[in-house]
Point group: C2
Chain length 245, copies 2
C-alpha cells in the first residue's frame, strides 16, 4: 500500500496539539478527517514531533498509508481543500518507501523558540512569541546555552508524563541569536523529552534576566530534578521547524 510523507505547517493556536484528544481539536484529527473526506478511507497519520497545545509548526513531518493509486499532487491539493478553513497547510507530499516512519526514522528534530524582548507588547507577533518586557542579556544566555549542548541527563528539564525511556539526550545545537527585538533560540536533537525545549528556554530566561548565573544552570542540570530548573516557557513561542531522516 503506498505510503505518503507530508510536510505540514500550522498555527498551533486553535488546537489542543498534534494528538487527537477529547478536550478539543487536534491537528492529527483535522488531517485524518481530510484524508477520509477525499478518499473515504479511515487511516492513522503519524508525525515526527507531537507538538503541544499552542505550539506551531513550519515543517512538521507525518506519514500515512492509503490504498489506491493517488498521485502525490492530487493528495496535497485534496487535503488542503478539505482542511480549509483551519490554519493548517500541507506544504508538500511525496510517496515514500514502506520502511519510512515519520516518528521512528527521524534522525533529528529542529525547533525554534521566539522571545519578543522589548518594553512594548506584540502586535503583529501576537500568539507567535513569548513577550518578555524586561531586558534579557543575550550574551549570558548564549554562554549558558553552550553548557547545555551535548549529551546529558536532562531529568531537570523533563515534564511529568514524559514517555521517553531515558532522560539522557544529546542536544546537537542549542544557540541563541538576536534578530531585531526578537531572541531566537534554536534547538536540534535526535529526540527531545516532554517540554524539554520550553523548560530549557524558561531556565535560560532566568539567566538573561540576571536572576541566575551559569553556575545555577550547571547545578540545575546536575540535580536531575525538575523542581531545580526554571519555569516552562509558554507554548506560543515554540515552532517545530522540521525533521531530518
Amino acid at each position: 500500500m503506498p505510503r505518503f510523507k507530508l510536510i505540514i505547517a500550522y498555527d498551533g493556536k486553535p488546537f489542543v496539539g498534534w494528538q487527537r484528544q477529547d478536550n478539543g481539536l487536534g491537528v492529527q484529527e483535522v488531517i485524518e478527517g481530510a484524508i477520509e473526506a477525499f478518499s473515504g478511507e479511515k487511516v492513522a497519520c503519524y508525525c515526527a514531533g507531537r507538538t503541544d497545545a499552542g505550539v506551531h509548526a513550519y515543517g512538521q513531518v507525518a506519514h500515512f498509508d492509503l490504498p489506491g493509486d493517488w498521485k502525490h499532487s492530487r493528495v496535497r491539493d485534496a487535503l488542503n481543500a478539505k482542511i480549509r478553513p483551519q490554519p493548517i497547510s500541507i506544504i508538500a507530499v511525496e510517496v515514500v518507501d514502506e520502511n519510512f516512519h515519520a516518528r521512528f526514522s527521524a534522525t533529528e528534530r529542529h525547533y525554534e523558540y521566539h522571545i519578543l524582548n522589548r518594553r512594548s507588547p506584540p502586535a503583529l507577533e501576537l500568539g507567535r512569541v513569548w513577550w518578555v518586557p524586561s531586558t534579557l542579556d543575550t550574551s549570558s544566555m548564549r554562554d549558558a546555552a553552550k553548557m547545555l549542548q551535548g549529551k546529558h541527563d536532562f531529568s531537570s528539564f523533563r515534564a511529568a508524563g514524559c514517555q521517553a525511556q531515558s532522560p539522557i539526550k544529546t542536544l546537537d545545537e542549542l544557540t541563541v541569536k538576536k534578530v531585531g527585538d526578537c531572541l531566537i533560540i534554536t534547538a536540534r536533537a535526535r529526540s527531545f523529552l516532554y517540554h524539554q525545549v520550553r523548560n530549557i528556554v524558561g531556565t535560560l530566561s532566568l539567566v538573561g534576566l540576571g536572576k541566575w548565573t551559569q553556575e545555577n544552570v550547571i547545578d540545575a542540570l546536575e540535580a536531575c530534578d525538575r523542581t531545580r530548573a526554571g519555569p516552562t516557557a509558554p507554548p506560543e513561542g515554540l515552532f517545530l521547524v522540521g525533521a531530518r531522516y
Copy 2:
C-alpha cells in the same frame, strides 16, 4: 503644549482601518480612547498613512498634543496598558517640536506588499499575505515595476474617493524581490493615491501570471483611466513599514 510622536505597529485584521468610522473600530479610535483613559484628555491623533481596513503597520507614525508634563516613557507604557487586548503596540514615543506633523511633515511613506506564491495555502501567514497559488514570473514583474518607478500621472491606479489634489506622484522605489515562497513588493514615495499600492500590485500580478505584457502596463499607465489597469490586490498583504521626516 507638548506634542508626542508615536511609532505604532498593528495587525489590521480587526479594524476598519486607521480612521474613526461608524461601521466598526478604527485604530485611531483605540489610541484616542487610550489617551483619554490615562490622561482624562480628549485629543485628536493624526497619522502618516491612513491605512484601509485590514491593512497592517510595522511603523505607522502619529502625533497628538497633550497638556501637562508627561514623561515619554510613561505615555508609551500607559497607552500600551490601556490598548490591551487590541493588537496595537506603541513601539516608541518621543516629544517633538510643535511644527512636526505626522501627516504633513512626512517626506516619504514606505509600504511592503506580501504575496505568498505557492500551491499550498497560508497557515502561519494567514491574514498577512495575498495567496496566489499559480506561479508568478518574478522577473517580468520586476521589469514591469521598473517602468512604474519615477514621476507619472497615476490616474489608472487611483481609486474612486481619492482626496489627493493631483494624480501625479513620484514612486521613488517600486521593486519586487523573492524570499522563499513569498514575493515582497516595496513601494516608497512622498505620498500615494488612494489604493495606489494595491492597484499596482494587482496589475503586476497580471504580468506575473503571463496575462499581461510590459506593453499592457505602459498602455494602462498612459490611459489615465482606472478601468484600464488591473484589479485591486486584497488589503491583508499590505504593510505600512514606516515614514520619514
